[in-house]
């Protein structure tokens, strides 16, 4: 009797152990990946937020609480507003042109022209070369005296004198927007092309038989079908551009004055050139809230539109 009871208990225990092990299994699978994220993302992030409340600097590496001084600076000095404006303006305008040209190209290539694949592949190269290469290339192209851009613009009578594209406030912003837009077009084109190919042809045919015009087909069938992907592409591209420091760092170094200093570059320079880590982190923390907002929008769109299980 005693023996059987012990055995049942033992069995129960081992069964519980087994169940526990199998319920822990999916977490164990996640462990290696999350360990890396923990070291390189979570810890630095928390530490960065904490640093924003101190006057930590690269030279004097101590955490001394300085009573929100860093945040007060951000909300009172106009320079910070300019930096945030630069980021938002440059990124949004760039994403707009990426979407526009990406969509135009996707529609053109999708309309059964010969050489569809070759066009797509050729364009795609633009997107895989390193950002640093893109930046050096446009640095050469935008050169005031010998750059091809000024030459071609003069030829087309779009400008009447050579513009110092990287040396004046608005031209520098435009140059950056052109660089970013150019870079992102293939990304939009490939995604939108894939989306266009999901539009059911039967639906298009049926609508055409019912007498729908091309424009109506586009407005009431194509657009609703590609909308989710277009939104997704816009969000992904905005996030990627907000993260980019390379282009501004190499091409303009944030200048002239602060005209092309984006938030990312500002944080980087404040930390590593002015050694003001605390101040830089405070800007980063505010920026973090903005990015989290975008990220959640992204999650919402993804979870609504993918077939994957959540």
């Amino acid at each position: 009797m005693m023996k059987t009871g012990q055995r049942t208990l033992h069995l129960q225990n081992s069964r519980r152990a087994l169940r526990l092990r199998s319920s822990l299994f999916p977490y164990l699978l996640l462990l290696p990946g999350f360990a890396i994220s923990g070291i390189v993302i979570v810890y630095p992030l928390l530490n960065g937020i904490y640093m924003g409340f101190t006057d930590f600097s690269l030279i004097n590496q101590t955490y001394t609480f300085n009573e929100l001084h860093n945040f007060v600076q951000i909300f009172t000095k106009p320079m910070y507003r300019l930096v945030f404006f630069n980021s938002i303006f440059i990124v949004f305008v760039s994403v707009f042109w990426q979407l526009f040209f990406g969509l135009v190209l996707a529609l053109l290539v999708d309309s059964k022209i010969p050489g569809e694949k070759i066009f797509r592949s050729t364009i795609f190269i633009i997107w895989i070369i390193p950002m640093m290469v893109v930046t050096l290339l446009f640095f050469v192209i935008f050169n005031t005296e010998y750059g091809i851009f000024n030459h071609l613009m003069n030829r087309l009578h779009l400008i009447s004198r050579n513009v110092a594209w990287l040396g004046e406030r608005w031209p520098a912003r435009i140059a950056l927007i052109i660089t970013y837009s150019w870079r992102g077009i293939p990304f939009f084109m490939v995604l939108l092309l894939a989306a266009l190919q999901t539009v059911p042809q039967e639906l298009v045919e049926a609508a055409r038989i019912d007498g729908a015009r091309d424009w109506h087909l586009f407005r009431f069938i194509t657009i609703p079908f590609i909308m989710p992907i277009a939104v997704l592409a816009c969000l992904l591209s905005s996030i990627a551009l907000f993260q980019d420091i390379t282009a501004t760092f190499i091409m303009t170094n944030g200048g002239p004055v602060y005209a092309t200093t984006t938030v990312g570059l500002f944080i980087y320079k404040e930390a590593f050139q002015n050694f003001q880590m605390g101040q830089a982190s405070a800007v980063g923390t505010i920026w973090l809230f903005f990015m989290v907002l975008l990220a959640f929008l992204y999650v919402k769109v993804v979870s609504r539109n993918t077939a994957s299980n959540w």
């Binding site: 890396i36 630095p44 640093m132 290469v133 995604l191 907000f242």
Partner: protein, 277 residues
């Protein structure tokens, strides 16, 4: 019929013009890299070269520094691919096949972690690395790359796992085959295209990186290509155009070649999770 044909020709020409304009900067990069010094700075700039000049390529190849950067980039990208693909296969398996408490939250975290401001992370990462001897190590740079490449590769692999029918696993389960064995013997072999696509994007992320490589390595011996080349030409951007463009082409070449041979994986990776299949 005739009208339809006209329309096709018109569309084709329009596409050709747009593509030509878009690809022009790439053509220009190649052209500048092959232009002799004397013809570089002329007014107006010439669209053709009188004689192809390979001096800038030779110049780069004979520089010890450049070969060092190339090797460093290969090592770092290799390590990143290794770390990332291994860990993301496990994570993707977990996300794709199991139901558990907190899964949604963990998925959201892994999806959004690449969106936290990189500039903010670099600051504290730099201090963390400095205190733990990870500055100027290949592993340190690869680790930073991994954390940013991970979400993408997890997502690509997961969405591929999702497409594999579960019947196979169910029968494996009945036969008493364990979960790890199911992963290695059934799921992974069937998912090679997805894993290749993920690997490609991990490699590209690491190879293209500028800012992590710039910050986390202060010695030339550990610099990867993008920051290495940029620092080499820093202050000479205005003069050494041919060399700059030649170096740029040599950095991009492995990726362009990979793309030409592995095209379908590139598109697969890009549309993974974004487009319903």
């Amino acid at each position: 019929m005739n009208k339809k044909r006209q329309k096709t020709i018109l569309t084709f020409c329009l596409t050709l013009i747009i593509v030509a304009v878009l690809i022009f900067p790439i053509f220009w990069m190649v052209k500048i890299s092959l232009t002799p010094k004397a013809e570089l700075f002329t007014k107006p700039p010439r669209l053709t070269v009188s004689k192809l000049n390979y001096a800038s390529y030779l110049d780069i190849f004979t520089q010890q520094k450049f070969l060092r950067y190339y090797l460093n980039s290969i090592i770092v990208a290799g390590m990143t691919v290794l770390i990332c693909s291994l860990t993301s296969i496990f994570s993707a398996y977990s996300f794709s096949r199991f139901e558990y408490r907190g899964k949604r939250l963990l998925m959201i975290f892994s999806l959004t972690s690449q969106m936290f401001p990189a500039a903010l992370l670099i600051l504290t990462l730099y201090i963390f690395y400095q205190r733990n001897g990870l500055i100027n190590t290949y592993f340190g740079i690869a680790l930073a790359h991994s954390s940013f490449a991970l979400p993408l590769s997890i997502w690509i692999i997961k969405s591929y796992f999702d497409t594999i029918p579960r019947e196979l696993e169910d029968s494996a389960k009945i036969d008493g085959i364990g979960k790890m064995r199911t992963l290695s013997a059934i799921i992974i072999p069937l998912s090679t295209p997805g894993i290749i696509a993920a690997t490609i994007y991990i490699f590209i992320f690491s190879w293209n990186d500028f800012i992590f490589g710039l910050t986390l390595a202060t010695k030339d011996a550990y610099r990867i290509l993008a920051p290495g080349i940029t620092l080499t030409f820093l202050g000479q951007f205005e003069y050494l155009w041919s060399e700059m463009m030649a170096a740029s082409i040599l950095i991009s070449l492995p990726e362009v070649l990979a793309f030409l041979f592995l095209q379908k994986y590139f598109v697969k990776g890009l549309t993974a999770g974004a487009v319903k299949q």
